[in-house]
Assembly symmetry: C2
Homo-oligomer: 329 residues x 2
DNA sequence: CTGTTAGCGCGTTCAG
DNA sequence: CTGAACGCGCTAACAG
């Protein structure tokens, strides 16, 4: 392995000089800079990021902590999009991104997790999919020892930012549009998971809408499961005018049930996943640009690591009508 | 940050002694060991893995290089499974796994890629989803500078192992079973992607079967796309007795086409993805345990890094009948 | 069995 | 503008 030392002797300069041109220090004559760059090119020198981190004491390593529901869904399109976006943006900032799954740390105590991240020289963490029940992670956030960006939870403190869309308004918007289009009065709302941040926000949006439009609403929790949404629709769909679901997957379940019951009810979903196409029908939904959200998360983490204080970052969403063609073409 | 030095002075021993108990060296009296461990606990000391790697010159860092087709599929169940398995096993071996996507390195030259891995102190790489057209990666493999495990390609050299199921036999088995069950003679085979390793192996299996059972076979490439398989089935399905597909996704496309054409033809797939359940019908398929495969890949990489030579590792598969219930329940 | 010494590859003063 | 010297946190000989 060719090191900075080799470059130095090959260029006939001191090690520190090489280091300076490497890190774009101002006070290096353009002539020696040229010499050094030539030597670097000739030797194919690769600066060792690890050693640099050790020496400079700042690592530029960040972790992407993901809660993939491979159990309930087998396929997590949302998670994939989050990852893709974060990776892209991390590369842009020259941050070394390590992907960590909840499953890897689920049996660890707070201390162990802290230790894990410290031992890995990780200073910043992006967390996707935290719920109110993840007490250990809550502890991690409250300790303020790491710079953290939460992608779907509204916690903010000195070292923690929150990045997400306005779920309350989005749920309000999409449901309102669908309800007005269909002149519906009696709503079946299939919410997500009890105690989920996202779930609660979306629920608030519905409650506001119900008050404003003077509707009636039956709320049931579908736990983001297609099957449960299907069952709930069988059970309650008959006597409602519309089924509003807190996720596309549940909307699919609801639509399947309605098809089997052979009745029509408008359905609206949330997320804008492509999988939806499989249902072969149309419905209104909120499209979140997950990749973009996680890009923003990395940007925000970068800010935090530069010393900025935690804050709320709100990302835009779109109301769309998804259809079969989305997946087939 | 509390370092090994603090522990040493706190315990009243030398730094090297602490290092020795940290790394389980044999010749340390149990008494000093106790002292040191006490100090470690009291100070909450976390050994810095990065520094250790620098010093010992072996990194324990491996990369998982993934080719996710988020463009064509939007959801890559297989990729997710690969990742989950690899991560689990890496943790077991105490290897630091970095996930890298093809998209991150697709514009890089061979030199740049090498530089990237070197700068990251990465010694071992697991590659999922390489094709014959990835010339840069081929170069990386041939250079034998890194220990590499390929998950779906049969390349083996001094520093490269290959881990996969026997695709030829698997394709042969599943097609044979389905054909005999249905007494079919004229086969439409929708293969994967031209020049794909997996595709070619599976094709060989079909060719063998055709010879043995004296069948006729029309081969078309569906590029692992549901839509293309659908089109091909529309075009050729009518005059065939069976549609054999090189992937479940394509099998779904084929089944949709058959449903729309309102004719029955047995279909068989490959992979055993759960998404299949969405189709609402039954079919034979080959179930690969992707998570297990990538676990084996990590094990094999570990062997390579310990000095073993590259070799072929064959993993088992299962012939199964997948059905609607798989996803609903 | 323990402590001393010399690096790993790099960044960073501080004289020159 | 340049280079010698020191240190980051740790491991690995080598003495004692």
């Amino acid at each position: 392995m060719v090191s900075i030392k080799d470059v130095a002797s090959h260029a006939g300069v001191a090690i520190s000089t090489v280091s300076k041109v490497l890190n774009n220090y101002p006070n290096v004559s353009s002539e020696t800079k040229k010499k050094v760059n030539k030597a670097i090119a000739e030797l194919g020198f690769v600066p060792n990021a690890i050693a640099a981190a050790l020496s400079s004491k700042k690592s530029g390593r960040i972790a992407l902590l993901m809660n993939l529901n491979t159990q309930t869904q087998a396929i997590d399109e949302i998670g994939m999009q989050y990852m893709a976006g974060a990776i892209r943006q991390a590369k842009e900032y020259n941050l070394d991104l390590v992907t960590v799954f909840f499953s890897m740390i689920q049996d660890m105590s707070y201390e162990e997790i802290t230790r894990y991240f410290l031992s890995q020289n990780i200073a910043g963490i992006i967390i996707c999919g935290i719920s109110k029940d993840d007490v250990i992670l809550q502890q991690l956030i409250e300790a303020e020892k790491f710079k953290i960006v939460l992608v779907d939870a509204p916690i903010v403190n000195a070292t923690t930012s929150s990045v997400w869309i306005d779920h309350k308004r989005a749920q309000y918007d999409i449901a309102k549009r669908t309800i007005l289009q269909n002149n519906a009065k009696r709503v079946l709302y299939i919410a997500g998971k009890k105690n989920g941040y996202v779930t609660d926000e979306r629920l608030k949006g519905m409650e506001k809408l119900v008050r404003e439009l003077n509707l009636t609403m039956l709320i049931r929790y579908g736990n983001f499961s297609e099957l449960e949404a299907r069952k709930l629709t069988f059970q309650y769909g008959q006597h409602k005018d519309i089924v509003v679901c807190a996720s596309d997957l549940m909307a699919i379940g609801a639509m399947k049930a309605l098809t089997e019951m052979d009745i029509f009810r408008p359905v609206c979903g949330f997320d804008g996943i492509t999988l939806m196409g499989y249902v072969g029908k149309q419905m209104n939904t909120v499209r979140q640009n997950f990749a973009h959200i996680s890009e923003e998360a990395v940007k925000e983490l970068h800010q935090l690591m530069e010393g900025a204080a935690g804050r709320n970052v709100i990302v835009q969403y779109e109301l769309v009508r998804m259809q079969y063609l989305d997946i087939i073409c």
